[in-house]
C-alpha cells in the first residue's frame, strides 16, 4: 500500500495536469467537477503562503454569501459545509458557518444531516453556546425510527453535548440500552460514558444498567461498557471489587479465544479488550491480596499466551507486566514479568526498547536488582541517537541515584540539558538535577558548579522554588560552621569569576541569586575588598540587559556591602545616578541607601554581617511614637482601637452573628440565614421568615468538606530524623570509590586474562560508577558509610555530625583496611562488572544480617506490605449499648433461624429491622445478618449458628476496617466457647463519615473445632445510604429557617408513575422507602426532612405539576443532596 501512496505522491503535480485527459484511477477520482476538488487543486498549485491566504479569503467570502443567501438549497449547503471544514482545517476562521451546520443537521435529509452533524462535531466544543440549538434536533433524531438517524444522533452526543441539557436526552438514551440492534446499544453506552465524564451525578442512578451492558451478549457493547468501568474503578476501586470475578472470567474467555473471529486482530483475540481488562484488574488488585489472588491465574495465562512475535502481543505483554506489578505481589508472576521486561529492554526494536526502559523505571523502586541486570543496555541507551530514548534512560537513572553515583548521573543529565531546547523538558530536568544535587552532593565545589549550570541553563523558566531553596540552604547552613563558611566562600568566589567574564549573559534569576549571595557573604573574601565587589555590582547595574527587578536585588546587595566598605566612590555615584531614576522603586531604594549612608553607625546596626537567618529586634510597640500619640490624644483625637475590636463593636451593634455550625436543636433566636433568592416560592409560611432573617449575608466561609492541601512547609522535603549511632558515619568522596573500582577492574583483567576493547572497558567503568550502591546498600553500610552521607545537603538536622572533607577521606581509607574486607570488596565490584545477578543476591543476603536499623528503611517496597490493624476506635460504644442488650446464647437449630431472629427482636420492637439474611455458611456454622435501624446508628447483627453437634472454641467474628465506616463492636460478643447447636449474636454499631451510595462491609468468622482444627469463613454485606437516613421531626417554621441557612441545593424533576400521580401518595412512598419525615403538605407542595446519621440534616421541598415531581433538596452537606436525589429517583422509578 505504501508504495502506491508514494507513487501517487510523486506523481501529484503531473496528475493535476492530466486531469483533463482523464488518465489513471487517481486522476479519475480527482477529475469530477466538484468545488472542493477545484479548491484543493487550486491550493496545491499555489507556491506561497500569501497566495494561499488570498485564495482562501476569496473562497470564504463567496461561501459566506452563498450560505446566507435564501436561495441556497440544502444540497448546496452540504457542499459548502465540506468546503468550510476544509478551510477551517487549514487554519482559517469559518465561524460564520457554524449556525448553518446546525441548521443542516436539523433540516437536511440523511446525507445532508450526516455532513451537518460532522461539521457540528468538528466546529464546536462542548461549551459553545450554539450547541444548545442542536439539542432539539438530537432529541428528534433519537426518537426516529430510522436506524441511521439514531446512530448519527448518538454519535454526536458521545462527542459533544452541553452538560446542562443532559436531562433532556438521558431517558431516551437509557431506552436505547435495550435496543435490539447492538450498534445502537453500543453507542448508547458510549454516550452514557461521555455523560459520566462530564456530569457523573446525572448518571448515578443507571449504574445497574451498566452492569447489564457488561453482561451484554454482544462483545462490542460489553467492551464499550468497560470504558465506564475503568473510569469508575479509577475513581473508587473499593466499590467494584465484587465484579473482579466477572472481569477475570471475561478475560479468561478472551484469552482462550472464545470470541468471534471478527474481533481478532492479526490473529490475536480482541487485544483492545484484553488491555482494557488488564488495566481494570490492575486497579482492582492494588494493595488488596484477596482480590489479587483471584486474578493470578488469568495473568499467568495471559503472559503465557502472548508469545507471538507481533507488536500487538507486546502491547498486551506490557500491560500485563504493568498489572502484575500493580497488584498484590506474587513472586512467580513477578519473576515472569521481570523476564518480559528483559525481553523488551534487549529487543532491537526501538519502540520496545523504549517501553522496556519505561517498565524498568516503573518497577525500579520495587526491584532495584532488575536495573543491575540490564546495566549494559542502559549504558548503551544513554548514548542513543534518539533523544527520547536518552530521556527515558535519564528518568530511570534519576530513580536509582544515590550518593555514590550522583556525579556521573548528574553529568549525563547536564549533557542532555545542554542539547535540549524545549522548555518543558528543561524545566523538568532542571528540577530533577537541583533535587539530586541538594540531596546527594559529594562536595562544595561540585554542588556550586552544578547549581551554576542549573541556573544558567534553567534560567528564567525553572520553578521559583529552586533558587529559593538554594538560597535558604546557603543561609541556614548545616551543622558544621566551618563547612558552611567554605560553601559560602566557594559560592562567592565562583560568582565573582563568572561576573568577570566578558560578553556572557546570565538569566535574571541567576543574577538575583548571585547578587544576594555576594551581598551576604562577600565578607568572607580575603583578597577582594567589599569596594571591589560593589564595583562589579555597579557594572551590572548599569547594564541595559538587566531587568529592573534584578536591579533592585543588586541595589539591596550594594546596600548590604556599603557599611563594610569604608568609603566608596562607587556608592556615591550609584546614589547620584539612581536618585533621579525614572523607576520609582529604584529611586526609593537609592534614597534609602543615601540616608543610611549618611549615618554609618545606624547602617551597621541595621545591616549586620551574616545575620540573614536571624530576626531583627524590632520595637513592635512603637514606643518612640508615644509622644506623638500623647499629643494627639491631648488634642481630642479618639483613642486607637485595633481592627478586631472595631469589628466586634460593629457587630454587637447589629444582630449577633452565629458562626457556630448549626446542630439539630433549633431555637429561633440567634439565627441568621443566607438569603435565598428563590425563598419566596416556598409558600407563605417560609417567605414570611425570609424577610426578617435573610437580609444580611453571612460572611463566614464554608469550610466544611474542604481538604487542607497546603501546609506551612510548602513542598520542602521531609526532614530525616537521624539517630545518634550514626555520628561515626563518614562521607566518602567519589574518587575513593573510583580508585577501588579501578583496582577491581585491573584485578579482574589479570585474573581472567580477558582482552577487552578499550571502549567496552570504558562502558563498564561507567556502568560500575552508575550502578554502585544499587541493591547493595548493605555493603556500603558495612564499610561505615551510613545513609547520612547521602543527605549531606539536606536541611539542618538537630544532631551534630562531625564532617570534614579531609579527615573523612583518610578515615574512610583506614576503615577500608581496618575491616580488612578487601577481598570482599573486590568480589562486590566484580559482580557489578560481571552482571552476575545471582551472586549479587547472595552478597546482599549475606550482608543483610549486618544491616543496622537505618538501612532497613532502604529495603525494597515489596517487603513493606503491612497488615492493616483491625482495631477501630470505639467512639460510639456507650451510647448505643445501653438500650440494647444482646441475648445470651439461645439454643436453636438451623431451621429455626429466622424465628430466632424475630424472637430476638421482640426485645427491641421500637426499632425497625430488616429480615435476617444468610451471608455465609459451611457444614459447621451458618452466619446470617440483619440490620437494625436505630435512631442514632445502624446496628448490624450477625447471628452465628453452630449447626454441628460439637462444641466450637474461640469463635470470633471480626469486621474488616472499611473506608468511610466506623464500626464499633458491642461488648459481650466474643464468647470463647460455643456449645453445640447454639446461636450467638455479634453486634456492631456502624457510623459513616461521608455520604455515599453503596458500600460493602466485610469480615470473617473464625473458630476452632474440638480437634483444634481452625477454620475461617468470610462474608460481606451491602450497606446503602438509606441505612443511615432517619426522619427529622421538625416544625414547618423550623424548616423555613433551616432552609435559608443551607447553601447546598440540588433541583431535579422526576417523572411519576401513574400509580402515585398525586402528591400525598408520592410523599408516602418517600416516607416509607427513604424514611423522610413529612412535615406539611400545602396544596401541591410538600415539605420533608431527614437527617443523615449522626446529624446532618437534609430538607426536601416537593412540588407537583401534572405528572412531574419537582424535587428541591437543601443541606448543610454538599454531597448529601446529590445522593438523596439519586435514591429518590430510584424509588420513584422503581414503584
Amino acid at each position: 500500500m505504501s508504495d502506491i501512496v508514494e507513487k501517487t505522491l510523486t506523481a501529484l503535480p503531473g496528475l493535476f495536469l492530466q486531469n483533463q485527459l482523464g488518465g489513471g484511477p487517481a486522476a479519475a477520482k480527482a477529475s469530477f467537477s466538484s468545488r472542493l476538488g477545484s479548491l484543493v487543486r487550486g491550493i496545491t498549485a499555489l507556491t506561497s503562503k500569501h497566495e494561499e491566504e488570498k485564495l482562501i479569503q476569496q473562497e470564504l467570502s463567496s461561501l459566506k454569501a452563498t450560505v446566507s443567501a435564501p436561495t441556497t438549497t440544502l444540497k448546496m449547503m452540504k457542499e459548502c459545509m465540506v468546503r468550510l471544514i476544509y478551510c477551517e482545517m487549514l487554519g482559517y476562521d469559518a465561524s460564520f458557518g457554524y449556525i448553518h451546520a446546525i441548521k443542516l443537521a436539523q433540516q437536511g435529509n440523511l446525507l445532508e444531516k450526516r455532513v451537518g452533524y460532522l461539521a457540528v462535531s468538528l466546529f464546536l466544543h462542548e461549551s459553545h453556546e450554539l450547541l444548545l440549538l442542536l439539542v432539539n434536533t438530537v432529541v428528534k433524531d433519537l426518537q426516529s425510527t430510522n436506524l441511521v438517524e439514531v446512530c448519527m444522533a448518538l454519535t454526536v452526543v458521545s462527542q459533544i453535548f452541553p452538560r446542562e441539557m443532559i436531562p433532556a436526552v438521558l431517558p431516551l438514551i437509557e431506552d436505547k440500552l435495550q435496543h435490539s440492534k447492538e450498534i445502537i446499544r453500543r453507542k448508547a453506552v458510549l454516550a452514557l460514558y461521555k455523560f459520566h465524564l462530564i456530569a457523573p451525578n446525572q448518571v448515578q442512578h443507571i449504574h445497574i444498567k451498566f452492569r447489564k451492558a457488561l453482561c451484554d451478549r454482544d462483545v462490542g457493547v460489553m467492551a464499550a461498557s468497560l470504558h465506564i468501568y475503568l473510569r469508575m474503578i479509577k475513581e473508587n476501586s473499593s466499590g467494584y471489587k465484587d465484579l473482579t470475578g466477572s472481569f477475570v472470567t471475561i478475560l479468561k474467555q478472551v484469552v482462550g479465544g472464545k470470541l468471534p473471529v471478527d474481533f481478532n486482530y492479526h490473529s490475536v483475540p480482541a487485544p483492545w479488550l484484553q488491555i482494557q481488562l488488564l488495566r481494570i484488574l490492575g486497579l482492582l488488585g492494588k494493595d488488596d491480596q484477596r482480590t489479587s489472588e483471584l486474578m493470578y491465574d488469568v495473568l499467568d495465562e495471559s503472559l503465557r499466551r502472548a508469545e507471538l512475535n507481533h507488536n500487538v502481543t507486546y502491547a498486551i505483554l506490557f500491560e500485563c507486566v504493568h498489572t502484575v506489578y500493580s497488584i498484590y505481589p506474587k513472586s512467580e508472576l513477578l519473576e515472569k514479568a521481570a523476564k518480559c521486561i528483559g525481553k523488551f529492554v534487549l529487543s532491537p526494536k526501538i519502540n520496545l526498547k523504549y517501553l522496556g526502559l519505561k517498565a524498568l523505571t516503573y518497577v525500579i523502586q520495587q526491584d532495584p536488582t532488575l536495573a543491575l541486570q540490564h546495566q549494559m543496555t542502559i549504558i548503551e541507551c544513554l548514548d542513543h541517537p534518539d533523544p527520547i530514548i536518552k530521556r527515558e534512560t535519564l528518568e530511570l537513572l534519576y530513580r536509582i541515584t544515590n550518593a555514590q553515583n550522583v556525579t556521573v548521573i548528574v553529568q549525563k543529565m547536564l549533557e542532555y540539558l545542554h542539547q535540549s531546547k524545549e522548555e518543558y523538558v528543561i524545566v523538568n530536568l532542571v528540577g530533577k538535577i537541583a533535587e539530586l544535587a541538594e540531596k546527594y552532593a559529594p562536595d562544595n565545589a561540585w554542588f556550586i558548579q552544578t547549581m551554576n549550570a542549573v541556573f544558567s541553563v534553567g534560567g528564567d523558566v525553572m520553578h521559583p522554588d529552586i533558587p529559593n531553596n538554594f538560597l535558604r540552604l546557603l543561609a541556614e547552613g548545616f551543622d558544621d560552621e566551618t563547612e558552611d563558611q567554605q560553601l559560602r566562600l566557594y559560592a562567592v568566589q565562583s560568582y565573582l569569576t563568572l561576573l568577570d567574564m566578558e560578553n556572557v549573559f546570565y538569566p535574571q534569576r541567576f543574577l538575583q541569586v548571585m547578587s544576594w549571595v555576594l551581598g551576604e557573604y562577600s565578607y568572607l573574601l580575603d583578597k577582594e575588598t567589599p569596594a571591589e565587589v560593589i564595583a562589579k555590582l555597579y557594572k551590572l547595574l548599569m547594564n541595559d540587559s538587566v531587568s529592573s527587578e534584578t536591579k533592585t536585588w543588586l541595589i539591596a546587595a550594594v546596600t548590604k556591602l556599603t557599611p563594610q566598605a569604608h568609603s566608596s566612590d562607587t556608592v556615591e555615584r550609584l546614589i547620584h545616578e539612581f536618585t533621579i531614576s525614572l523607576d520609582t522603586c529604584m529611586r526609593q531604594h537609592a534614597f534609602e541607601l543615601k540616608h543610611l549612608h549618611e549615618n554609618v553607625e545606624l547602617m551597621k546596626s541595621l545591616l549586620p554581617v551574616d545575620r540573614s537567618c536571624e530576626d531583627l529586634a524590632v520595637d513592635a510597640s512603637l514606643s518612640f511614637l508615644d509622644g506623638f500619640v500623647a499629643e494627639g490624644l491631648s488634642q481630642g483625637a479618639a483613642p486607637y482601637k485595633p481592627h478586631h475590636q472595631r469589628q466586634e463593636e460593629k457587630l454587637s451593634q447589629e444582630k449577633v452573628l452565629n458562626f457556630e455550625p448549626y446542630g439539630l436543636s433549633f431555637s429561633s433566636s440567634g439565627f441568621t440565614g443566607r438569603q435565598s433568592p428563590a425563598g419566596i416560592s416556598l409558600g407563605s409560611d417560609i417567605s414570611g421568615n425570609s424577610a426578617e432573617t435573610g437580609l444580611k449575608e453571612t460572611n463566614s466561609l464554608k469550610l466544611e468538606g474542604i481538604k487542607k492541601l497546603w501546609g506551612k512547609e510548602g513542598y520542602l522535603p521531609k526532614k530525616e530524623s537521624k539517630t545518634g549511632n550514626e555520628s561515626g558515619a563518614l562521607p566518602i568522596p567519589q574518587e575513593s570509590i573510583m580508585e577501588n573500582v579501578d583496582q577491581a577492574i585491573t584485578k579482574k583483567d589479570q585474573s581472567q586474562v580477558l582482552t577487552q576493547s578499550k571502549e567496552e572497558k570504558e562502558k563498564q567503568l561507567l556502568a560500575s560508577s552508575l550502578f554502585v550502591g544499587l541493591g547493595s546498600e548493605s555493603t556500603v553500610n558495612l564499610l561505615g558509610k551510613a545513609d547520612t552521607v547521602s543527605h549531606k545537603f539536606r536541611r539542618k538536622s538537630k544532631i551534630k555530625e562531625a564532617k570534614s572533607g579531609e579527615t573523612s577521606h583518610n578515615m574512610t581509607c583506614s576503615s577500608f583496611s581496618s575491616l580488612s574486607n578487601v577481598a570482599y570488596e573486590d568480589d562486590y565490584y566484580l559482580n557489578a562488572l560481571h552482571d552476575r545477578g545471582d551472586k549479587e543476591l547472595k552478597t546482599f543476603s549475606l550482608n543483610s544480617e549486618l544491616l543496622d536499623s537505618e538501612s532497613l528503611t532502604e529495603l525494597p517496597l515489596v517487603e513493606k506490605f503491612s497488615n492493616c490493624s483491625l482495631s477501630t476506635p470505639s467512639l460510639f460504644a456507650d451510647n448505643s449499648m445501653e438500650i440494647f442488650h444482646p441475648p445470651q446464647s439461645i439454643a436453636a437449630s438451623v431451621a429455626k433461624e429466622s424465628s430466632l431472629a424475630s424472637s430476638f427482636l421482640e426485645e427491641t420492637t421500637e426499632y425497625i429491622h430488616s429480615n435476617a439474611m444468610e451471608v455465609c455458611n459451611n457444614e459447621t456454622i451458618s452466619v446470617s445478618s440483619y440490620k437494625i435501624w436505630k435512631d442514632d446508628c445502624l446496628l448490624m447483627v450477625w447471628s452465628v449458628t453452630n449447626k454441628s453437634g460439637l462444641e466450637l472454641k474461640s469463635a470470633n467474628l471480626e469486621i474488616f476496617p472499611a473506608e468511610n465506616f466506623k464500626v464499633t463492636e458491642q461488648p459481650g460478643c466474643c464468647l470463647p466457647i460455643m456449645e453445640a447447636e447454639s446461636t450467638k449474636s455479634f453486634q456492631y454499631s456502624v457510623q459513616i463519615e461521608e455520604p455515599f451510595t453503596e458500600g460493602i462491609l466485610s469480615g470473617f468468622i473464625s473458630y476452632h473445632m474440638m480437634d483444634t482444627h481452625s477454620a475461617q469463613l468470610e462474608f460481606s454485606v451491602n450497606l446503602s445510604l438509606l441505612d443511615f437516613i432517619r426522619p427529622l421531626k421538625i416544625s414547618s417554621e423550623d424548616f423555613g429557617k433551616l432552609w435559608l441557612s443551607f447553601a447546598n441545593d440540588v433541583k431535579q424533576n422526576v417523572k411519576m408513575s401513574e400509580s402515585q400521580a398525586a402528591l400525598p401518595s408520592a410523599l408516602k412512598t418517600l416516607q416509607q422507602k427513604l424514611r423522610l419525615h413529612i412535615i406539611e403538605i400545602i396544596g401541591n407542595e410538600g415539605l420533608l426532612a431527614c437527617q443523615l446519621l449522626p446529624s446532618i440534616p437534609c430538607l426536601l421541598h416537593c412540588r407537583v405539576y401534572a405528572d412531574v415531581l419537582a424535587l428541591w433538596f437543601r443541606s448543610s452537606c454538599s454531597t448529601l443532596p446529590d445522593y438523596l436525589l439519586y435514591q429518590c429517583q430510584k424509588v420513584m422509578e422503581g414503584s
Binding site: M1, D93, H125, E126, D262, L355, Y424
Partner: protein, 158 residues
Amino acid sequence: MQFMLLFSRQGKLRLQKWYVPLSDKEKKKITRELVQTVLARKPKMCSFLEWRDLKIVYKRYASLYFCCAIEDQDNELITLEIIHRYVELLDKYFGSVCELDIIFNFEKAYFILDEFLLGGEVQETSKKNVLKAIEQADLLQEKTEYHSKSFIGFKKAY
C-alpha cells in the same frame, strides 16, 4: 485519547479530531509545534514522543503521518495498533488508500474514524462491523442521491 492528527510530509494538515475541549488558538499552536517536532524526527527513531505532559504516538504511512496524543498511563503500543487499524479500515474502504483519497474525501475519513473511535475511546474493533456501519449509511445516501450525480467519487470497498 486526546486528539488525532493526520498530516503530510510537507506539514499540511489532512485531518484533525480533538477529543478534549481546546480553544482554536491552542489547537493551532499544538498542531504547529507537533508537526514540526514529528517531521524533524528521523525514520529509525522511536514512534513515541514525550511532549509537554502528553505522550505522542505517531507513525508514518507513505507520505502521511498519523499522530495520536494519549495520556501518560495509556498503552503506547496499542495506540500504534489503533493507528494501524484505522489505516486498514481506510484501505479497505477506499481500496488501497492513498493521500489523495483522504484529501478529496476527507469527510469519509471522518465518518470512518467516528465509527471506529468515539469520544476518544475505541468503539468497535471488528473491522467487519465498522465497515458494515459505514456502508449502511452510504447505501441510504445513495438511494437519496440516486437521481443526481454525486460529487463524491468514492470507490466501493471490495
